[in-house]
């Protein structure tokens, strides 16, 4: 009689052989997805969520009040972080002779891109927006420590890579403006004045702006006696609007009602039309009166 169950012996041999070969393991793992919980958890780590603040900022003097600091994520540091996280319960070193060392390497290699691909979904899920494409390449970002963070709820950021900023577009209209996908943008803790932002790609210009919903009609001078508005001059001929080259200062004190606080829109429109010598409609009224939000641009130095 031979060993009864050849299958058993060959099972063990196969198991060892498969474990020994990272290629075979990768084939075995194939396109297998990670369990959703695990994927989310690893994605969170990819975005430094849960990393103690004193590790992100070894010395607080690096980030004094009212400062912003730009950085690029070190992929090795993040890989190490994930490796540590995945080592829970594993009190093993990884001597090469161990059959499962390649298995761990293979699963880690398998899990990392899947976790990274999951990163945009965290924000998408939280905000209920469509998920951005999975990040590829560098992840960069900044830490902002400012009263702006606490005082300006809804603060926003537009992040542009080098070569595709609005200025580049202004210089050469054939250049498209590219905005980098934001992976993480949040205050670190409740009522915290520190904000972290991570974007997919290498940030070159960061425009911090007030919440976009704050677009409004506004005046340029609000001196009590002489409020005024700088309006664009334009002409309309055959339905074509042509902007003039300059601003015209229009005193608007007369447009206010008796209490001096509430503007009479019809009067205001009349004033504008009178100044420009045209009758304006609602669109032209909006064009003249709307004020944008406050924006601060930071551009990476060389």
């Amino acid at each position: 009689m031979a060993v009864r169950l050849q299958a058993k012996a060959s099972f063990m041999a196969n198991a060892r052989a498969t474990l020994a070969s990272p290629t075979a393991l990768a084939t075995q793992l194939g396109q297998r997805p990670l369990p959703p919980d695990l994927r989310d958890w690893l994605a969170r780590l990819q975005l430094l969520k849960g990393v103690p603040f004193n590790y992100l900022l070894p010395d607080e003097r690096l980030l004094p009040p009212e400062s912003i600091r730009f950085f690029t994520l070190d992929p090795v540091w993040v890989a190490t972080l994930i490796d540590g996280a995945m080592s829970i319960g594993r009190t093993l070193s990884a001597p090469q002779q161990l059959p499962w060392a390649p298995l761990e390497a293979a699963t880690a290699a398998h899990a990392a891109p899947l976790a990274l691909a999951g990163t945009p979904e965290l924000r998408a899920k939280a905000l209920g927006i469509a998920s951005a494409a999975p990040p590829a390449g560098t992840i960069s970002g900044f830490l902002l420590r400012s009263s702006v963070v606490t005082d300006t709820p809804g603060l926003g950021a537009n992040v542009y890579p080098q070569g595709n900023t609005p200025a580049d577009h202004d210089r050469d209209p054939t250049i498209d403006i590219v905005m980098l996908d934001i992976l993480r943008f949040e205050a670190l803790g409740p009522a915290s004045d520190v904000l972290i932002c991570l974007v997919a790609g290498d940030a070159y210009q960061v425009d911090l702006h007030q919440p976009p919903e704050q677009l409004h009609y506004g005046l340029d001078a609000v001196a009590p006696e002489a409020p005024s508005k700088n309006i664009h001059s334009f002409t309309v001929a055959n339905g074509v609007v042509t902007l003039g080259s300059d601003f015209i200062t229009l005193p608007v004190a007369n447009a206010f009602r008796a209490d001096g606080r509430v503007a009479n829109m019809a009067t205001l429109a009349g004033l504008i039309g009178q100044k420009l010598g045209v009758t304006i409609d609602a669109a032209e009224m909006g064009f003249e009166m709307i004020e944008g939000v406050g924006t601060v641009s930071f551009i990476k130095g060389l």
Binding site: M1, A2, V3, R4, L5, Q6, A7, K8, A9, F11, M12, L48, K49, G50, V51, P52, F53, N54, Y55, L56, L57, P58, D59, E60, R61, I88, G89, R90, T91, L92, S93, P95, Q97, L98, P99, W100, R145, A187, L188, G189, P190, A191, S192, D193, V194
Partner: protein, 1426 residues
């Protein structure tokens, strides 16, 4: 009160004058022939068991042959064949079998001129089964015929020179019978005897007509019918037909199966109700279903609960219950046609088809035989070819066989599940090749009222109590082994006496080298003789009786031993039990309970699974798991007919024919009802039924119109006509008989049969209450043709015995027997396997095959498990892709005639012993002149509490002389075996030889070996034969028990760690805990209580001990400070101390190798109970424990079999006698074929089994300076030079009955450790979860943590919260621990942490102190947001 009617299978064999003259003399006859016992003073033969037995394998002609006439044999219902045996062995107790049988015969002679049968005549007989003849001679029956009767060994202890036998059973004419005759003797007059299914013969007694012809059989010689009798005897033409109804009862109602049954049911039901009410549970069963349930459990009888009448009291207890208090057996053999009208001079009923002159011996020469260790293996081997794909390769066939094995064991579906299912399959199959034998008792302390020990009943006893319990168990084991030893000693004494008494009576010398005088002295010479020794041992061991719990039947205590047994093991056991009882915690709640200890295992004999056309499995009592029985109220007594719109109702009592049952018959009315029912069912009586129906009158009465057609229509509805009679109208619905005979058929309630020809009728068989049930199909039999025998064969062939002949080319021995290295020299045990194989090309046998013969009662257990398993499997997994293949297997199997049987006695004969009829030790011819016999006979009965006969000490005979003794005394069974002649003997003694279509050149049959018996491919020897892997024939067990981790010497008798004999140890065996940390290559040691000690690691290439984190008292990392100096005294557990000092003295390479071995083991470890405390396990990694166990192999009684040979080449017996070696242990030294020195390797752990927790072990006492030598780990690298080595086969080799070897294990306690010996079933030992779980929970785990950034405001770390545990930080070089808050250290931006520090140290997890004890460490204040 009512009666239960059990179905009785009655079969008839016709023997005509030709058969009687030529054929029945060739049949096998009686085995037991008590009348052959020599008793006269002139006899030259001794009055021993061998004189009265003519084994079936003997070629001598039968003592008496079947005379002409009809021979009836009825098979006792299985309920009467179930003996109850105590777990300790002893003789099983069988219920009293019915001893009175009413045989009613209906007879019709065929009138050849009229072409029809004449009127029916009736005659009733009484068979008094247990009638004992007044003298030792046969008596004529009322018709003047001297019937053959069986002989019985009565009176039991006859004086010398008087006949030691009588004849049993007689036939009376029922008409003149007035009950048991006054003045006549019956078996029960010879107390304690009473009639059972085994009689004085054994299980074959009631099943084999020649053995019980006058007891459970009836020979109808027709002397009361002159015409028939003359025709039969004169061999002149006649045709007639007969039907028989047989009704049996137990004469003494108090001994009936059902006596007291109603009371027992009432008691059980009322108890159940009381319990349910106490628990406020609803009452889910009725008294009727309780009755049915108990009948199923006790006798495998099934009632119809809806027909059992009962009433309840207001409190739900039983007021009345109409339970049966008596059982009646009833069956019919109908329409037996005797067709001797033509060629009476040459016509045979029973002749085999081939021979001229006719032969009685049939042959099936196209059988297929497969052989396995068990019927499962054999069946798989037999049918694998039918299931596999066409032209399957050997590998594919082997896979199919494996799957079939798994299917039959119910393991098929799990085979693909995760876990070690293939190994489980291997181990299960392997263990099926062994039979368990009682291994003694083991005591445990359980909560009162708990009948079984389960996990929840885990008791952690105070150490002194646990030690007392150990002492009790030790005493119990000594006593149990002592009793087993006595069995062996007494049997040997008996066998030696046999060697003495025969030559003594014959006035010869026992052997060429032994004189009678010498043997006399050897046997009986005061204390200096075998009898003296055996008697002394009996006194030293004593006897004890157990106290049983009345309800559960568990053993809860001991009875005081009889007076005068002072100093015996029994007395010591009783004292030990008293000590534990006295020490049990006061206040009650705890009780002692004994359960069976690990059993001993004896190898089963190989099982033949045979397939052939003429082989019909024996299922005379049907294949229902429980036999359906009827109550008297369920008998059929009414025939309702509907013909052409007219309805008639006939009471069965109105049918003429059945005899009047007299008042002499117990249960008169019921027997009368049975006879009346017979009139409804027996086709021959149809014309009587027609007359009774006609007498009903009324319009459209079909019987009045045409009685003959009515009778034929009734016959069509009844069915079961003889094929030898003219055919009935065809194209009719299935007859009642055919419905009842269909496979799996059950009794039918109020069956209605519609017939269309010759007249249209609907007949309903029912009773007045409308609950008439037919009997179970086995209770009605009729003639049927057996075309696979011959075209004209109409008599049954009912296999009962297998007579076998096999050879064994046995394992070689040297002059002293087996060499100690026999197992390792010839065989190898693959680490993935459980059984030994030999290397191809090795020669390990003697080359001299020995022939063994025997006969065995065919198992009534059919191999139908296969179809049942397939059905079950497909029901559970309807979409399994294997199902079509399984269907194929079922289809093949269900139409094949397959029978399986172990060849009993094969192994026993290798011990040079054979079974012997149990006859009292006596010397009838020599009487009082024979002092030796007188002394032994007296000794056997000397102690009324310890009657030797109760343990069957006289059931074996030695095989001293023949070829078997010459060529093999083989207690270690191994070698190559061949199957030679096979023959089946049927219930009437008919014979059928079996032959495979091809034979091997050696003349052996061509058998299909099951996988484990297949010879190694390519080997030079054994091809075509069966390979029998090595097996210890004496019952043995692997003794693998944990040792307590500590002991309390204040208890007298305890001087060392003691064996935990329970599977649930009373104290923990865990000596310490080890936590490997592979990250920094260290082993952290903990005490069993969970307190940390310190760790070993490798620093700068050397082994370095470091004390536990935060231990300021041991700044120098000194091992002695932590655990005590190497030479003691230890401050931790002794063995933990030893292991740690052992490691401390090793090199860095040792630790590296050890760590590698741990890693190598744990990767493939996935314990079944991994899920327990999983959260903590995730944090800990894999804690291991150090625990100790003992390992050994022991035989039942601690003795080895000794050779009985007395041949010139092996004169063991003569040597013993001449050397005066009357003590068994002395004989063992020379006569046990070297078995005592045989090295039995034990393979511990199993890397391939993910449910095995062993990392490795030290064998205690192997060290030069310390207790330990190398650490043996299966996962260690080969040739390890640093003291960590893989074990080889001889690493742990034990000898039989040697003191067990203590072993110190390093193991993962979540999985058991397997001990594989190959020659015995795999034994495993596991640490109960409670023990390690408690230790793990208390574990103080330190996680090396480095480096971490510590904010200036205080250390925070992102730690999970573990309920019940607290975290703290232990800083290198600091004594105090800093509590750490869980879930601190988040990514929330809080400032004020600068400057930060880099720290190295340990995070520690420990059990939170209970709220009342120390204050919970408060987490540091949360740093404020800077």
């Amino acid at each position: 009160m009512t009666q239960a009617i059990l179905p009785l299978n009655v079969r008839a064999l016709r023997v005509n004058q030709n058969d009687a003259q030529l054929l029945t003399g060739q049949f096998k006859g009686r085995v037991a022939q008590f009348e052959h016992m020599p008793f006269s003073s002139t006899e030259q033969r001794a009055s021993t068991g061998e004189q009265i037995v003519q084994p079936l394998e003997s070629t001598a002609p039968a003592l008496e042959s079947l005379p002409p006439g009809i021979h009836l044999h009825w098979e006792l219902p299985d309920a009467y064949k179930r003996g109850v045996q105590g777990p300790e062995g002893g003789d099983p107790v069988f219920p009293a079998a019915p001893n009175f049988w009413l045989v009613i015969r209906y007879l019709q002679i065929f009138d050849a001129t009229a072409g029809a049968y004449g009127p029916v005549s009736e005659q009733a007989f009484i068979v008094e089964s247990d009638y004992i003849s007044a003298a030792a001679q046969l008596e004529p029956d009322p018709w003047g015929v001297t019937r053959p009767a069986i002989s019985v060994p009565l009176p039991a202890n006859p004086p010398p020179h008087t006949a030691p036998y009588r004849f049993m059973g007689r036939v009376c004419d029922y008409g003149s019978w007035t009950g048991p005759a006054a003045g006549a003797q019956y078996l029960s007059d010879f107390a304690p005897n009473y009639l059972t299914s085994i009689g004085f013969v054994g299980p074959s007694f009631s099943a084999y007509y020649p053995e019980c012809k006058s007891v459970f059989g009836f020979w109808d010689h027709f002397k009361d019918q002159r015409e028939i009798y003359n025709a039969i005897v004169g061999n002149t033409p006649i045709q007639f037909r007969a039907s028989y109804q047989v009704i049996g009862w137990v004469g003494d109602a108090s001994k009936d199966l059902f006596a007291g049954f109603g009371a027992a049911v009432t008691q059980a039901y009322d108890d159940y109700v009381a319990k349910a009410q106490a628990r406020q549970a609803s009452i889910a069963i009725t008294p009727a279903s309780q009755l049915d349930q108990m009948a199923q459990q006790q006798w495998r009888l099934a009632f119809n609960p809806q027909d059992i009448a009962f009433t309840l009291n207001a409190d739900q207890t039983i007021a009345t219950l109409d339970a049966p208090d008596q059982g009646l057996c009833a069956g019919i053999a109908q329409e037996l046609v005797w067709d001797m009208l033509n060629a009476p001079g040459t016509r045979y009923f029973l002749g085999a088809d081939t021979a001229n002159p006719p032969s009685a011996v049939w042959t099936d020469d196209e059988i297929r035989v497969a052989v396995g260790n068990s019927a499962i293996e054999g069946l798989s081997a037999l049918i694998k070819g039918e299931v596999a794909v066409p032209n399957a390769t050997p590998a594919q066939l082997s896979d199919v066989e494996t799957l079939l094995d798994a299917l039959q064991l119910g393991l098929l579906h799990d085979l693909e599940a995760s876990g070690s299912s293939l190994i489980t399959l291997d181990e299960t199959l392997h263990s099926r090749g062994f039979a368990r034998q009682f291994g003694g008792y083991v005591w445990s302390i359980v909560k009162s009222g708990q009948s079984t020990i389960d996990d929840s009943a885990e008791v952690d006893l105070p150490l002194p109590l646990a030690e007392l319990l150990f002492l009790l168990n030790q005493a119990q084991k000594s006593y149990d082994q002592g009793r087993a030893e006595l069995d062996t000693l007494r049997r040997q004494l008996f066998m030696d006496w046999l060697r003495y008494v025969a030559p003594y009576v014959a006035q010869k010398q026992p052997s060429p080298t032994v004189t009678t005088n010498l043997l006399t002295t050897f046997l009986d010479n005061g204390s200096e003789s075998e009898l003296g020794y055996v008697t002394a041992r009996g006194a030293a061991i004593g006897t004890i009786d157990y106290q049983l719990d009345a309800q559960s039947g568990t053993i809860t205590g001991l009875q005081a031993p009889p007076a005068g047994e002072d100093g015996s093991l029994a007395t010591a056991l009783y004292a030990a039990w008293q000590a534990v009882s006295a020490a049990l915690p006061t206040g009650g709640g705890w009780t002692l309970q004994a359960t069976p200890e690990t059993p001993f295992w004896a190898p089963t004999d190989p099982v033949l699974v045979i397939q052939g056309d003429r082989i019909e499995p024996v299922r005379r009592n049907g294949d229902a798991p429980c036999t359906p029985v009827r109550l008297r109220e369920e008998l059929l007594d009414t025939l309702q007919l509907s013909a052409g719109g007219a309805q008639f109702t006939l009471g069965a009592g109105a049918i003429a024919g059945p005899p009047t049952i007299t008042a002499a018959t117990p249960c008169q009315a019921t027997v009368q009802a049975l006879a009346a029912e017979g009139a409804l069912l027996i086709p021959m009586l149809a014309s009587s039924v027609a007359s009774a129906v006609a007498a009903l009158g009324g319009a459209g009465n079909p019987a009045a119109t045409d009685a003959a057609s009515f009778a034929t229509a009734l016959n069509v509805a009844q069915g079961g006509a003889s094929p030898l009679d003219p055919a009935l109208p065809t194209g009719q619905p299935t007859s009642l008989y055919d419905q009842l005979q269909a496979t799996g058929a059950s009794p039918i309630l109020n069956p209605a049969q519609s017939v269309t020809a010759p007249i249209a009728l609907t007949l309903t068989f029912t009773n007045a209450a409308g609950k008439g049930w037919t009997p179970y199909g086995t209770a009605i039999t009729a003639q049927s043709l057996l075309p696979e025998f011959s075209a004209t064969r109409a008599d049954p062939f009912l296999p009962v015995f297998l007579v076998w002949e096999a050879t064994l080319d046995p394992l070689s021995q040297s002059s002293g027997g087996y060499t100690p290295d026999t197992l390792t020299r010839y065989f190898a045990l693959d680490e993935d396997d459980v059984d030994y194989v030999y290397a191809a090309g090795t020669s390990f046998t003697t080359g001299t095959p020995v022939t063994y013969r025997g006969s065995v009662v065919l198992s009534r257990l059919t191999t139908r498990s296969l179809t049942a398993q397939i059905d079950q499997y497909e029901k559970l997994y309807p979409k399994d892709p294997a199902n079509p293949t399984l269907d194929q297997a079922r289809a093949f199997y269900s139409q094949a005639n397959i029978m399986s049987q172990g060849i009993d006695g094969f192994s026993q004969q290798m011990l040079l012993q054979s079974s012997l009829a149990q006859v009292t030790v006596q010397d009838l011819p020599k009487g009082g002149q024979d002092a030796v016999t007188t002394a032994i006979a007296a000794a056997a009965l000397a102690d009324p509490n310890d009657n030797w006969y109760q343990y069957a000490f006289n059931n074996s005979a030695p095989i001293p002389f023949d070829q078997r003794a010459q060529d093999n005394f083989g207690p270690l069974r191994a070698g190559f075996s061949d199957v030679r002649n096979l023959e089946i003997v049927d219930a009437f003694g008919q014979r059928l030889t079996l032959q495979t279509s091809a034979t091997l050149p050696s003349g052996a049959q061509e058998v299909i070996p099951a996988f484990p018996l297949t010879p190694v491919a390519g080997g030079a020897s054994g091809q075509g034969a069966l390979y029998l892997p090595p097996r210890l024939i004496p019952p043995s067990r692997v003794w693998f028990k944990w040792l307590s981790a500590s002991f309390d010497p204040s208890v007298p008798g305890i001087t060392d760690d003691f064996v935990e004999t329970n599977s649930h140890p009373a104290t923990s065996p865990i000596c310490g805990i080890v936590l490997p940390n592979h990250l920094d290559m260290s082993l952290m040691f903990y005490q069993a209580s969970g307190e940390a000690i310190g760790s070993f690691g490798v620093e700068h290439g050397t082994l370095k001990y470091r004390t536990r984190p935060g231990n300021e008292d041991n700044a120098g990392d000194d091992l002695a400070t932590d655990i005590g100096r190497m030479d003691g005294p230890p401050t931790v557990n002794d063995h933990l101390h030893n292991v740690m000092w052992h490691i401390a003295q090793q090199s860095a390479g040792f630790l590296a190798d050890l760590m590698a071995a741990i890693q190598g083991s744990e990767g493939f470890l996935n314990p079944a109970n991994y899920a327990q405390s999983v959260d903590l396990a995730v944090l800990m990694g894999q804690p291991l424990v150090i625990a100790r166990a003992v390992l050994g192999v022991e035989t039942s009684g601690g003795l080895l079999p000794v050779s009985q040979a007395d041949t010139s080449s092996s004169p063991d017996f003569s040597n013993d006698v001449n050397a005066g070696r009357y003590r068994y242990p002395d004989r063992q030294a020379a006569g046990a074929a070297g078995l005592a020195a045989l090295q039995i390797p034990l393979q511990l752990g199993n890397l391939a089994n993910i449910d095995d927790g062993m990392i490795g072990y030290f064998i205690d006492g192997q060290g030069q300076s310390g207790p330990y030598g190398p650490f043996y780990a299966p996962a260690a690298k080969a040739g390890g030079a640093n003291g960590v080595v893989p074990p080889d086969p001889t690493t742990l080799a034990v000898t039989l009955n040697a003191a067990p070897t203590p072993v110190t294990f390093l193991l993962d306690p979540r999985a058991p450790i397997h001990a594989t010996s190959g020659i015995l079933p795999v034994q495993q030992a596991a640490i109960p979860p409670d023990d390690y779980a408690a230790a793990f929970q208390a574990l103080q785990i330190s996680f090396v943590t480095r480096p971490v950034l510590a904010p200036a405001s205080g250390l925070t770390l992102p730690l999970p919260s573990e309920p019940g545990y607290v975290w703290s930080w232990v800083q290198t070089g600091q004594k105090d621990q800093t509590p750490l808050a869980a879930k601190a250290g988040t990514d929330a931006a809080r400032f004020g942490f600068t400057p930060q520090q880099l720290l190295e140290g340990w995070t520690q997890l420990q059990k939170a102190p209970p709220p009342s004890a120390a204050p919970t460490p408060t987490p540091p204040p949360t740093p404020s947001n800077g």
